[in-house]
């Protein structure tokens, strides 16, 4: 197992290098640069822009710029933002916990909705409960999270004269206020997450229900709950987990808009601002971080297969 993990981690290196190269060059293909964006409506003459680019080292050959940046990134030093001159590491330390909480809470809520609902739907196939669960899945997939977010925040304001507080307060400093901020956006993210997972759970459980070992379990006279939880669900969870791992990536993407709507300045917002402002160093750092997170989640999913199915051996 340890060997497998090490190998997977080593394999992640070329993935991250590839991602960093892709983002590095794609960001520079975009017309305009951070100085153009900074000057805004005041404008910048060609001479002024050239001077600023020189001062920031952006007039050096691209390869030199990349290796310079990559060398620092390898030791987790992402430099200073070109936009506001602040340390990218410092900004990430502030923003990562926000996005992490949003993603983890969203995934948990999504799984808490999706797995029981999927199992129930499969177990009561053809019943009104099944139809409702499938309807939930379709609706959840059809309505983008930003629509749900906008509706939620609008109705909260109009009906209750309340909206989640702005900012990003740590759970450890003020749990109550933190939950006020995070519960609704996480639930909205979780709803989208669960819509996909509930459908997978249902089909996977339905498949498992027809397996011989399940028939044997029924024949042994085991209670329904035991059959479902121990024999059906555990075996049905592998595709669910695979999908969930992939969904975390989508969830990370979804945080960009949800963070904007709920005024949570996490990594998603940082990425959005960085693209708009052509803040290369922030964009590169955020993308690298997201790629690393996605790689790690998928590694964890793979490892969890062993726990779910002892027949699987990771090599």
């Amino acid at each position: 197992m340890a060997q497998y993990i090490v190998r997977r981690l080593l394999l992640a290196v070329p993935v991250l290098v590839g991602v960093s190269l892709l983002v590095f060059f794609m960001a520079r293909i975009l017309p305009g640069d951070v100085f153009t964006a900074q000057s805004g409506t005041a404008g910048l003459t060609a001479d002024q822009r050239a001077k600023l680019r020189h001062e920031a080292g952006l007039d050096r050959p691209l390869a030199v710029q990349y290796f310079d940046w990559a060398g620092h990134a390898a030791v987790l030093n992402f430099g200073d933002s070109l936009w506001n001159r602040r340390s990218v590491n410092k900004e990430l330390r502030r923003a990562v916990p926000i996005t992490l909480e949003l993603t983890v809470l969203g995934s948990l809520i999504g799984l808490l909705i999706a797995v029981p609902l999927g199992v129930l739907s499969a177990a009561t196939r053809g019943s009104p409960v099944d139809y409702l669960a499938r309807l939930f899945g379709v609706i959840g997939l059809s309505i983008p999270s930003y629509v749900l977010g906008t509706l939620a925040i609008t109705y909260l304001a109009v009906w209750f004269r309340w909206t989640p507080p702005a900012g990003g307060i740590s759970f450890f400093s003020n749990p109550w206020r933190n939950m006020q901020q995070f519960l609704i956006p996480s639930t909205i993210l979780g709803a989208g997450f669960s819509a996909a997972v509930v459908r997978m759970t249902r089909s996977s459980v339905l498949g498992a229900l027809h397996e011989d070992y399940v028939r044997t379990a029924w024949a042994k006279g085991l209670r329904a709950r035991l059959v479902l939880l121990r024999h059906v669900l555990r075996n049905a969870l592998i595709p669910v987990l695979t999908l969930s791992g992939a969904q975390v990536g989508y969830l990370l993407g979804g945080t960009v808009i949800i963070e904007s709507i709920f005024t949570l300045s996490g990594v998603g917002s940082m990425a959005f601002d960085a693209i708009t402002n052509r803040d290369y160093f922030v964009l590169q750092a955020v993308t690298l971080l997201a790629a690393a997170a996605f790689t790690l989640v998928n590694l964890l999913v793979d490892i969890s297969y062993v726990w779910l199915d002892p027949r699987i051996r990771l090599r």
Binding site: T36, G40, V147, T154, R161, E259, N277
Partner: protein, 625 residues
């Protein structure tokens, strides 16, 4: 922002379809709109001093109302050096009468719950302000961005400044009247020299590394030289030489006539800096420490800014408020929802579509104060600009033909209920006693348009048009124009760019065809803007205009000391810029600002605009707590 449709919050029932449509549009629009902001321009020069004696401007005390060295806009006025005590904060007139005051073409006032301008200010409270700015650092020297100014302006003072709301008698948002800030008095013995005496006992904020030391003439010299070394601000600060005569006296010498030097120095961004900050940090990007009314004690870029009252501020009875909390919103719907929920006294995003958003807000919060301004001092003109050195755009018949080909009232009625303006800051200024003649280009006549284009050999013209949808409804408006132009054989090919790509093309002078959706008019005082952006000698003449007639008019405008000549020269320059249609404007809705009735003192003008360039006037705001 007409494209934005929020759901109807009024007492009427909301259909699900309407809600979903509204939410979808709002969500989509919001992502683009969070970048929107800006504003600004303009002037006035009427009030104030016209006596042409070479006297000294002796501005009065540093107490409550600022001394109004009403050097007005004109250099003639400044030479006169009058001294007019400014109005007390309690003065002022209600909206209706303010609206009927000068300027004659102006249209402004409160359309809901007009505030009592005579109410006695109260001390205390924390202002909660929802902003949308993403400032590129805090350095006033390096960044001319309004977004940075929005955050740092309450921290700093200026040598001279524009008068705030009720200091202007009567209140007039288009009027630019100069008064002393850290200067105690000014002498203007000749056209090339200004001497300022500084107020005594002004101290920097008691924050490391400046630690509350005294403000002196060396700080003025340091600050102005810093701005002069920056090519951006140097373009409009004129050619000046700054000398610290003694610790309390500063002499500014012009190297060539420039009657706009006071207006330029009163720009909210030309602030007085402490060299210790740059000595420690390398520049002013990370910290803002000044002599202003508020101390920026916590700043998280793109998240929030918190200010506390500066106990050492030289105006001992200001600011009224104890603290200010700015929270950053990226989404218009969220910002509006938070305002409706009563979580903010003011929301920067409350610059709204009158037909939808104001109605929503008033349905939820009936007492909301709504201020209307027909043409804000936008730093932009919503227009199509033509590269003046490229065929066929260098042919006046082509430009005017295109402009005459669409009926501006079609969109103006559809989106703004007929309440709209064109040419924003250049036309809506106090230099005109009545609405200016915009010339033939603005007279809708499709037959004449076709004839003009045919005569120019462009009967079937394709117009590639690069634009950035600055302001929410540029897409809608351009599509309306596109459809109308088809009727005269003009194929308007819309090429939408994001802000930075647009700026790169526009400022990089890479435009081969018409470009824009908005023409930035920074700096915002219109005569200065004309000099910087359209004069053939300016490096910021991005559309490469070369019109000797226009140049001559602007030269006169920016050098003459005679106020009447200035006014005539402005009108002349306007005609020479607008009537040949070097750019052609489309319609713009009035601007509406909304705030909680708890907030008092919000009286914006071109240099004191919390939704745009700056918040220095926040020292006069107070909360009815």
């Amino acid at each position: 922002m007409g494209a934005q449709r929020y759901h109807v919050i009024t007492g009427s029932r909301l259909s699900r379809r309407a809600a979903l449509r509204g939410a979808a549009l709002t969500g989509l629009g919001g992502a683009a709109l969070w970048m929107v902001g800006c504003s600004s321009s303009n002037n006035n020069k009427k009030g104030a001093a016209a006596t042409a004696t070479k006297a000294a401007t002796t501005a009065a005390s540093a107490t409550s109302a600022a001394p109004a060295a009403s050097a007005a806009a004109s250099a003639a006025a400044t030479r006169a050096a009058t001294s007019a005590p400014a109005a007390s904060a309690a003065a002022g007139s209600p909206a209706a009468s303010a609206g009927s005051a000068t300027p004659k073409i102006a249209d402004f006032g409160w359309v809901n719950n007009a505030p009592d301008l005579k109410a006695t200010p109260k001390k205390g409270g924390t202002l909660r302000f929802g902003t949308h700015v993403v400032p590129p650092g805090l350095d006033p020297v390096k960044s001319a961005s309004y977004e940075s100014a929005n955050i740092y302006t309450p921290v700093y003072s200026r040598l001279i400044r524009a008068q705030y709301g009720t200091e202007l008698q009567p209140y007039n948002p288009w009027r630019l009247m100069i008064t002393n800030d850290l200067a105690a008095s000014m002498e203007h013995p000749d056209a090339m020299t200004y001497t300022f005496k500084l107020k005594p006992n002004v101290k920097f904020q008691n924050v490391d590394p400046v630690k509350g030391r005294a403000f002196t003439a060396d700080d003025v010299k340091y600050s102005l030289n810093a701005f002069l070394a920056n090519p951006e601000t140097a373009t409009y600060l004129a050619a000046v030489k700054v000398d610290a005569v003694d610790p309390q006296t500063v002499k500014i010498s012009l190297t060539k006539p420039a009657n706009y030097v006071l207006q330029a120095m009163a720009d909210p961004r030309i602030v007085m800096l402490a060299h210790e900050v740059a000595d420690a940090d390398g520049d002013f990007s990370k910290r803002a420490i000044g002599t202003g009314p508020f101390i920026l004690d916590n700043f998280q870029p793109n998240v929030s800014a918190h200010y506390k009252r500066n106990p050492d501020y030289y105006r001992t009875d200001r600011p009224y408020m104890d603290a200010m909390q700015f929270d950053n919103f990226k989404d218009n719907a969220s910002s509006k929802a938070a305002f409706i929920a009563g979580q903010y006294e003011m929301s920067q995003y409350a610059l709204l579509n009158p037909l939808d958003d104001i109605k929503d807000i008033l349905a939820a919060q009936k007492n909301t104060v709504v201020f209307k301004l027909q043409s804000r001092w936008q730093s932009n003109i919503f227009a199509m600009g033509f590269p003046a050195d490229k065929a066929p755009w260098n042919d006046q018949r082509v430009r005017i033909g295109i402009s005459k080909g669409w009926d501006r009232s079609v969109y103006g009625k559809k989106a703004y209920g007929g309440d709209y303006n064109v040419l924003g800051p250049y036309a809506w200024i106090d230099e005109f006693d009545s609405a200016p003649d915009l010339g033939d280009a603005y007279k809708f006549d499709q037959k004449a348009a076709k004839d003009m284009l045919s005569a120019a050999g462009q009967a079937n013209l394709t117009v590639p048009f690069d634009y950035f949808p600055y302001g929410g409804d540029a897409d809608d408006q351009l599509q309306t124009i596109q459809n109308q132009l088809k009727e005269i054989g003009v194929d308007l090919k819309l090429n939408k760019l994001d802000a930075t790509a647009f700026f790169a093309k526009y400022y990089g002078q890479k435009a081969d065809g018409p470009i824009s959706s908005f023409i930035p008019t920074t700096p915002r005082w219109a005569p200065l803007s004309m000099l910087v952006l359209w004069h053939s000698g300016s490096p910021k003449n991005y559309l490469r205009l070369s019109s000797p007639e226009f140049d001559a008019a602007v030269d006169k405008l920016t050098t003459t000391e005679d106020k009447d000549e200035q006014k005539k020269a402005y009108q002349d320059a306007f005609n020479k810029l607008v009537q040949p249609a070097f750019f052609v404007s489309w319609t713009e809705s009035p601007t509406y600002s909304v705030h909680s009735p708890k907030l008092h003192g919000f009286l914006p003008n071109m240099y004191n605009d919390p939704t745009g360039w700056g918040n220095q006037a926040m020292e006069d705001w107070w909360l009815d707590t």
